[in-house]
């Protein structure tokens, strides 16, 4: 697979909004919006890139079916029986892994992107299932289903919120003022709905696409610790050094039999970036 293609896929995965899954509808306009998300104040001539693929070895678990019979409005949106997006393996590649720079940026601060990240509820599933956002950056939460959803975050470093969206088309906006990997999101009306938000104090984060690939662009040259986080398989880290305008590789492998670090749900605080947004 060409580098260009994997970069494109990773971008889509990282910034995808409202277009995932079987029930996806209008992703196009929002994706265009996200394309404008420029890298921060790092000279593009020297900016480095870290990319890689997350693979899964062993037998992938059978997808867990979701019984949506109690909510026909959502069940009818799925042509195929819906399954849990938790462990999503295709051709040995693992999707929905949050990859981010966990160490190496020191005290550097980065301007907050003015583009909102969108979390869509469509077919009683979150799109995307895993997303990254920078402290202070706007999160737009949209209900594309004509049923009641509530968006209940279980953050511990940020103030939590729990708001209702009883109508299709309703949008709410929130932001987070403290880095937190990860914030679980759920809907109490539909117990199967689950999403994870990774909040970092910088823009260097990505989510693996269906082919397991990710790309983090626009980095200042330097030595970094890259962390891969998966909701059930756990977290792994790797050191990567990139020089000016270089592209470094960070490939991670999850083995079905191996135990990884428990998922750090409340720590570490990566970069505190107080003073942005209401959180």
């Amino acid at each position: 697979m060409s580098n260009r293609k994997s970069t494109w896929l990773a971008l889509v995965a990282m910034l995808a909004i409202g277009c995932g899954g079987d029930a996806g509808d209008d992703g196009a306009d929002a994706t265009d919006e996200q394309q404008a998300d420029a890298a921060p104040v790092v000279d593009p001539a020297v900016a480095a890139t870290i990319s890689g693929t997350v693979t899964f070895t062993g037998t992938a678990p059978e997808p867990t079916p979701i019984d949506m019979s109690e909510e026909p409005v959502c069940a009818d949106k799925h042509s195929e029986p819906p399954t849990s997006p938790s462990v999503k393996v295709s051709d040995g590649n693992l999707a929905n892994v949050f990859v981010f720079v966990s160490e190496g940026l020191g005290d550097m601060s980065f301007p907050t992107s003015s583009d909102a990240v969108v979390l869509d509820q469509n077919g009683c599933l979150y799109h995307p299932h895993v997303l990254g956002i920078q402290t202070g950056q706007e999160l737009t939460i949209r209900n594309s289903d004509d049923v009641l959803h509530n968006i209940n975050t279980r953050s511990t470093d940020n103030r939590p919120f729990n708001i209702s969206q009883p109508q299709a088309g309703m949008e709410s906006t929130r932001s987070f003022n403290t880095a937190e990997v990860m914030i679980p999101v759920g809907c109490d009306v539909h117990g199967w709905m689950s999403a994870f938000i990774g909040v970092t104090g910088h823009p260097y984060h990505a989510v693996t696409a269906d082919d397991g690939s990710f790309t983090i662009e626009g980095l200042p040259p330097g030595e970094y610790v890259i962390e891969a986080w998966h909701e059930t398989l756990g977290a792994q880290t790797m050191s990567v050094t990139v020089g000016e305008a270089e592209t470094g590789a960070a490939d991670f492998t999850y083995d079905e039999n191996a135990a990884y670090d428990p998922v750090p749900m409340t720590e570490p605080l990566i970069v505190s970036h107080d003073g942005h947004g209401a959180g």
């Binding site: 009641l148 509530n150 009306v189």
Partner: protein, 530 residues
């Protein structure tokens, strides 16, 4: 080791030199009145004396008593406060916290604290806030709440329509009994099972049962629970403030019209004609409903620490031959029901189990029992209220959602043996979050060894209930204390005749008195003439 020791020794050297400065600084810090060091120190004393047992010394809601409670005590470190006047996700004001100390949290184990003086309450609030970094430099402000447009029939109709449109019923159920389709999976922020409020029991609402309090909870949400805020829905025009008020009035209207005063005596009304067999028969309107509170059985293990059933409405009728009892109680699950399997396991895991295996493989059924002494007692002596004892047994009328009714003898919790030859009959229905069960039995008959009831006699009676979907069975269930039932006697003919006799007797007396007076007068006149 040296590296650890040296800062301490250098500090010791510095302290005398800095002492006057430190003292001045301490005075300056102590001066402000509200939230000052002085307040916090006093607050700590109050906290460790009264609060730490449940909320933990470090305020994390994990004191020694916490695992015996569901919902768990508030975690002051995470600082998710349910009842506030501030927007969703924000911290409470001091006044919000003060209110909780004054009225407690109904429906939970948090009591009101009338024993604490106002200053002590202020101090303990200042101390509680020190547990959470979120309070640093925070200045929580109340929301702007819209004024109440008022209740009335139209408001209730509009409120019902909005209740449906906003899908409140998904959790709270169509009739508001907390039995909506999403209830089996509800969890609080700690992933512990939590119930949707039953609107027919407003005295258990965490934040109060008035329309105003309900409206506020809808605007702010109940942080840490599944109840979201509707403030965003109002802001985006999905629902108007008036409509949200109407929902509040509608929810408040679901409260029972009869105040649930604890009954001491259930009066079994004597009816002419047939006794009702069905729970929804009209004849039940002739009976006076009595509210009997139930509490978790916590004397023997395994204890019921957070039981589902906390009260029953009891009605009784009899026709001189048979006694009919109608028992009604809230239970969101019609057990056994496999959709509640996960809930059952979560409840079993959430509470201290007293060493018992509370997580059976198969879904369990619901149950109820009415208890009498096995024999009419002499005087006020009654058997042990937990199903009697070996030398003082009780009669039990048991009902099970799967096995139906049976008459049995109890000689203590778990010491239950069936009785033969009775004519106990029963009919039940589960209707959108509550059970209605009718039990009938001969007054004088019953099984061999069971109580013989009698008209006109005040007889002890008590009640038990079990919610199978919450892993309740045997000792782990709800129990009432002994109260009494009285089977009204038929209106005797004396009631009519006695007044007539009394009137006739008085009239007769009057006649005798008048006659004797007349006679005395005549005799007096005769003497005068002579």
């Amino acid at each position: 080791m040296n590296a650890h020791r040296s800062p301490a020794s250098s500090a010791r050297v510095l302290v005398p030199a800095l002492a006057p400065f430190v003292a001045a600084l301490a005075l300056a810090v102590a001066a402000p009145a509200v939230g000052s060091a002085q307040d916090v120190d006093n607050g700590r004393v109050v906290y460790e004396r009264w609060c730490a047992e449940c909320h933990g010394v470090d305020g994390a809601g994990d004191g020694p008593a916490a695992e015996y409670m569901l919902p768990r005590p508030r975690d002051f470190v995470q600082a998710r406060y349910q009842v506030r006047t501030t927007p969703n996700g924000e911290l409470p004001t001091d006044a919000d916290m003060m209110r909780i100390l004054e009225v407690g949290m109904p429906g939970t184990t948090m009591p009101a604290w009338p024993n604490l003086g106002e200053q002590q309450r202020r101090d303990v609030i200042a101390y509680i806030k020190t547990f959470s970094r979120f309070f640093e430099n925070a200045d929580p402000q109340p929301m702007d709440f819209a004024p109440d447009p008022g209740g009335g029939d139209e408001a209730l109709e509009s409120g019902r329509a909005a209740y449906e449109a906003l899908e409140c019923w998904k959790c709270h159920g169509d009739s508001g009994r907390g039995s909506g389709q999403s209830t089996p999976t509800l969890e609080d922020w700690r992933e512990l099972p939590i119930r949707a409020a039953d609107f027919t029991e407003p005295w258990k609402f965490n934040g109060g049962g008035t329309a105003e309090m309900i409206y506020r909870r809808m605007m702010t949400g109940l942080d840490g629970t599944p109840m979201p805020a509707y403030s965003d829905a109002v802001a985006s025009g999905v629902v108007s403030p008036e409509q949200l008020w109407h929902v509040a009035h509608y929810v408040a209207s679901l409260a029972p019209t009869l105040e649930p005063r604890t009954a001491d005596l259930i009066s079994a009304v004597r009816v002419e004609g047939e006794l009702p067999a069905a729970p929804d028969a009209e004849a039940w309107n002739e009976a006076r409903p009595a509210f009997v509170p139930l509490a978790g059985q916590i004397i023997e293990t395994p204890r019921a620490l957070a039981p589902t059933v906390d009260g029953m409405w009891v009605r009784a009728l009899h026709d001189g031959q048979r006694l009919a009892l109608r028992l009604e109680w809230g239970d969101p699950s019609n057990s056994p029901d496999s959709t509640w399997n996960e809930w059952q396991a979560k409840i079993a895991g959430a509470l201290h189990a007293d060493g018992a295996d509370l997580s059976p493989d198969a879904p369990m059924s619901d149950g109820m029992a009415v208890q009498f002494p096995a024999e009419l007692p002499d005087g006020s002596r009654r058997p042990y209220f937990l199903m009697g004892s070996s030398n003082d047994p009780v009669t039990l009328w048991t009902w099970d959602s799967q096995d139906g009714v049976a008459e049995a003898q109890g000689r203590g919790l778990g010491e239950i043996s069936p009785l033969d030859g009775g004519d106990l009959d029963g009919e039940s229905r589960w209707n959108d979050g509550h059970w209605e069960v009718v039990l009938t039995r001969s007054i004088a008959g019953g099984a061999e060894g069971a109580i013989t009831l009698a008209e006109g006699v005040v007889t002890p009676i008590a009640f038990f209930a079990w919610d199978g979907s919450s892993a309740e069975t045997a000792a782990r269930g709800s129990v009432s204390s002994w109260i009494y039932i009285h089977l009204e006697e038929p209106a005797s003919p004396n009631v009519v005749i006695a007044p007539i006799l009394a009137i006739a007797f008085s009239a007769g007396l009057l006649l005798v008195f008048v006659r004797s007076a007349q006679r005395r007068q005549r005799q007096g006149l005769a003497r005068a003439e002579a």
